[in-house]
């Protein structure tokens, strides 16, 4: 006890009256940069067709060109003369689409099952938790490999598969958060008003767990992008001719000694994007937790 008592005394300071202005809590630089990067990636992906750059399958040179030698294709060209910039931007399209779609599918299913299980408890909770344990016990990569070997992966099939694999995680997040909220007094008060089940879940509980779910969603997107990168690298992701970051890293791998930028540019873009999504997700989670404690 005495140890805790002697910690953290306020330091003496001459209190100046003009120090009473509100402390503006500036968002950390890392968060600003990460958000800016995500916005840049999203914008250039969505507006890829409008940008004054070559198509991803239009050669801009006769062969490999190092970066910073031409404009607007300032990232150079690969061994067959295709613009690295264009391919990075177009590569983001599919990665993002699958990652976001997979997240949305997984979260939708997970939140619906998780909140329902938390509300109804009993056998529903038992069954839902059992199923999620079964899915969690399944080796995800093996499942994806198996799928790729029997069918041609498409945006939809990949998203559905990733969504299914991630469903237990979002289910657990939703279940745990909903359980906390269901123990709060406002839920008791709502029950005293005769609130029916769907109304309790949708109008009382869901708005209070959205923060945590969105935060988790960002982290999920980042995880999926890495998974997709790995699949593409192994050549079992989305088939060519559409470029992908993982595929670009794989094809640049042969010439990594002579033309390292062919590996490093897509790798750096992947790293920055994943890092950014994770940072934003963590930050949102901190805020959600902080709010939770404050209530």
């Amino acid at each position: 006890m005495s140890a805790t008592m002697t910690t953290g005394p306020g330091t003496r300071a001459a209190a100046a009256e003009d120090e009473d202005a509100p402390v503006r809590r500036r968002p950390p630089v890392s968060l600003v940069l990460c958000s800016a990067w995500v916005v840049l990636v999203l914008a250039s992906t969505l507006l890829a067709g409008l940008l004054p750059i070559a198509g991803y399958d239009e050669p801009v040179a006769d062969g490999a060109t190092p970066p910073f030698e031409s404009w607007p294709e300032f990232l150079g060209a690969d061994s067959v003369g295709l613009s690295v910039l264009s391919r990075v931007i177009h590569g983001a399209q599919l990665s993002l689409a699958v990652a976001v779609l997979g997240t949305v599918i997984g979260m939708a299913g997970g939140v619906a099952l998780g909140t329902a299980a938390a509300y109804f408890k009993g056998w529903l909770a038992t069954v839902v938790n059992l199923l999620s344990d079964v899915v969690l016990a399944f080796p995800g990569l093996v499942l994806l490999l198996a799928m790729a070997s029997v069918m041609r992966p498409s945006v939809w099939s990949l998203s559905a598969m990733l969504g299914l694999l991630s469903l237990p995680s979002s289910l657990r997040i939703a279940y745990a958060n909903a359980n906390v909220q269901l123990g709060r007094d406002y839920v008791l008060a709502a029950r005293a008003l005769g609130t029916p089940a769907w109304r309790m879940i949708v109008r009382e509980v869901l708005p209070n767990i959205t923060h945590s779910l969105v935060a988790f969603g960002f982290v999920m997107v980042a995880t999926f992008m890495i998974a997709l990168g790995a699949l593409d690298f192994l050549g079992i992701g989305l088939p060519p001719p559409r470029p992908s970051w993982g595929g670009m890293i794989a094809s640049g791998f042969d010439s990594i000694r002579t033309r390292p930028y062919l590996v490093f540019v897509p790798a750096a873009v992947l790293l920055l994007t994943v890092f950014s999504f994770n940072t934003i997700g963590d930050r949102l989670r901190e805020r959600a937790d902080g709010r939770g404690g404050h209530l």
């Binding site: 005495s2 008592m5 005394p9 003496r12 300071a13 209190a15 007094d185 406002y186 008060a189 209530l295």
Partner: protein, 683 residues
């Protein structure tokens, strides 16, 4: 100052604490002057946000990390405001020790009792393990822990709340401190346990002649146990004087209001409590004005432009910071001169069928290790317009009963008849319709409002469920809010966390009243509120009851509050009703020994009260997992006999309209050997 500077053990001058926030710097402490002599006992009183806790935390050197301290703070000439110096560390924990409110979190849950208590002594006094063990045993014995040797190896969670607080006191005493600070140390405890702990602190203080600061929001706690009292408001000391003087002739308007807002056991029932309008001040900034001016009925322009200094009146040591003090010969604040009787409540007409009737209600929960018998067959009937108060200590089942009655909790058996219809057997659909007739108000007002919804949204929810829509809905919501004194145009769009506790509880009441119920169940509705705000909410409930002819079930641990608002009172102990009757009669002449002990334990804001004269209830509440055989109170009852262990006493009429469950009731024939003929009462 009555205290010579030389005599002063603790010396505080112009102490301020500043914490920067997003809304501007807040000043939890704003220029506090205080002295404490050796061996003196000071009561530090204030509502939430008054700065009383920050003051003692500053003394203990545990202010928040972002805070800055300014001013002078010395203990026996050692500077405590200058950070963690060698000298200051020699004071904290050794010469000044503190007992916190929540012993569950202030004790380390994974360290055995023996080590926790001895740790301080070993560190500060350099005792060997054997010496420290001896000292720990002495200390545990001193604070009244039975069988201390067995406790050494136990963990905090194995002890009851009262026992844990005793351990915390033993820890604080480990190094023979010169100053002991009890920061709301008894607030979380039941009144009978609170009484034990306060008596213990007083005994220890007297025998060791140490100085003591008792921090409390409850004037009753400090009334007869302190030499002086300092009343804090908005980070400043509003008034400070000898304890007797403060209660007899408080000069500051806030002190007066605080004393007046407190319901007491000796005021007429259904009194309208004098209230302080508004709520606690915004802590942002340090205005050059009296902090209390916005709520003060006597405030003049000067109060709003100049800060009143804490000045002493003559050489009496009575200090107060007020430009327009109450005249010293005015009526004593504690006499409740301003309290006037409320409009007579709708009298319960005899012979009328009961509005709400509870029969043999039983609630049980399964927990690991057994079944908790929360409510073990309680029965009562309430005629329309009656307020029935339910009192008891924690674990007595009062809250479980309240929740089971409105079907927020599953009852194991029994029935709840609302105008003859059993609510417990209704289908969910029928129950939903019936919820317009019976509503509940919960304890924590802010937690009971959905943080994502606006005030209007919260109030509208019940109506929406009943199918009210459109203009009718908007009109009903605004009416309900106006009915509880909340302006829908100002507060309607706010979220729960933007409201003060009092406002939030008004909104919660509006939510219940929007459905225009016949029965309102209130589960500790004012326990989370400050005294001045509590009076507002109690008055509101009285008014609503009179206007709408509500039948009200009012559950509370606070006996003074229950007595003021209730027509009849039910006293519960370990899941059973031990006494039921007219509130005045129950309080003035309790029939059950438990009722008598409970009433005797209530902290009374009266400095002349002699604690030794009222019997103190010893021991702890038995485990609800395995209640005692026969009479459940017998393990703590001073007059228990063999018969009490053998047979459970039924709740029978001991006097007209008085029911008690005791083999040897205290009223009527006091002879315990001559039981009067009783009829088993089942209404």
């Amino acid at each position: 100052m009555t205290h010579d500077e030389a005599k002063s053990l603790l010396r505080i001058r112009d102490l301020s604490v500043r914490i920067p926030t997003a809304r501007g710097a807040i000043w939890p402490l704003d220029g506090v002057d205080l002295d404490l002599g050796a061996g003196e006992t000071l009561g530090l009183v204030g509502e939430s946000g008054s700065g009383k806790s920050m003051l003692v935390r500053s003394i203990m050197g545990v202010t928040p990390a972002a805070s800055t301290l300014s001013g002078e703070l010395t203990f026996d000439s050692v500077d405590l405001a200058g950070g963690r110096t060698e000298q200051a560390r020699g004071v904290w924990g050794k010469r000044v020790a503190m007992v916190f409110q929540d012993s569950m979190t202030s004790l380390n849950p994974v360290v055995r009792i023996g080590r926790q208590v001895s740790e301080g002594a070993r560190r500060h006094l350099g005792l060997t393990a054997a010496q420290a063990r001896e000292r720990t045993l002495d200390l545990l014995d001193l604070v009244g822990i039975p069988d201390p040797r067995a406790r050494l190896a136990q963990y905090p969670h194995q002890l009851s709340g009262g026992m844990r607080q005793r351990v915390a006191i033993a820890m604080a005493l480990a190094c023979d401190p010169d100053l002991l600070i009890a920061d709301e140390a008894t607030t979380a405890l039941d009144v009978t346990i609170q009484r034990q702990i306060l008596d213990l602190l007083q005994e220890i203080q007297a025998t060791r002649r140490m100085a003591m600061i008792i921090v409390s929001h409850d004037l009753g706690v400090v009334a007869s146990r302190t030499d002086r009292i300092a009343v804090m408001y908005g980070g400043r000391i509003a008034e400070e004087s000898a304890t007797g003087t403060l209660f007899a002739e408080a000069r500051h308007r806030y002190t007066r209001a605080l004393l007046g807002a407190l319901p007491t056991l000796d005021m007429p029932r259904h009194s309208v409590l004098p209230t302080v309008p508004g709520s606690a001040p915004d802590p942002v900034g340090r205005p050059r004005a009296c902090r209390f001016a916005p709520r003060c009925p006597a405030a003049v322009d000067r109060c709003r432009t100049e800060r009143p200094r804490l000045l002493s009146q003559g050489d009496s040591g009575h200090r107060f910071a007020c430009f327009v003090p109450v005249e010293p010969d005015a009526a004593p604040a504690s006499a409740h001169a301003a309290a006037v009787a409320a409009p007579p409540a709708a009298t319960a007409a005899a012979g009328q069928p009961p509005r709400l009737e509870v029969r043999d209600l039983v609630c049980r929960y399964r927990v690991p290790g057994g079944t908790i018998h929360a409510v073990s067959g309680i029965s009562f009937a309430m005629p329309p317009g009656e307020t029935l108060g339910v009192v008891g200590e924690s674990g007595c089942g009062k809250s479980s009963a309240a929740k089971a009655i409105v079907r927020l909790q599953q009852a194991a058996s029994g029935s709840v008849l609302l105008d003859g219809t059993d609510l417990l057997t209704l289908s969910p659909r029928e129950m939903r319709r019936r919820r317009t007739r019976i509503q509940i108000v919960l304890q924590d007002p802010i937690a009971s409002l959905n943080p994502r919804k606006t005030v209007r949204g919260c109030v509208a929810e019940g109506l929406l469920i009943q199918g009210v829509r459109g203009a009718e809905l908007a009109a009903k919501v605004d009416d309900a809010l106006r009915g509880v004194g909340v302006d829908p145009d100002i507060h309607g769009g706010k979220k729960a966390y933007q409201l003060s506790g009092g406002q939030a509880q008004r909104v919660a009441i509006a939510r219940a009243m929007a459905l225009d119920p016949d029965v309102l169940v209130c589960d500790e509705p004012v326990s989370a509120l400050d005294v001045s705000v509590q009076a507002q909410v109690l008055n509101l409930l009285e008014r609503l009851k009179a206007e709408r002819g509500l039948t009200m079930l009012f559950v509370s641990h606070d006996l003074s509050v229950v007595r003021n608002i209730s027509d009849r009172v039910a006293v519960m102990y370990l899941g059973t009703i031990v006494e039921l009757g007219d509130a005045d009669q129950v309080y003035s002449a309790p029939a059950h020994p438990y009722t008598r002990a409970l009433i005797g334990a209530v902290p009374v804001p009266d400095p002349t009260r002699d604690h030794a004269s009222t019997p103190r209830l010893e021991g702890q509440l038995p485990s609800p997992l395995s209640p005692p055989s026969g009479c459940r109170f017998r393990t703590r009852c001073p007059i228990a006999r063999q018969e009490c262990a053998d047979n459970e006493p039924p709740l029978v009429e001991v006097a007209p309209g008085r029911l008690a469950a005791c083999h040897f009731p205290l009223t009527g024939s006091a002879e315990p050997t001559a039981p009067s003929p009783r009829a088993r009462v089942r209404q």
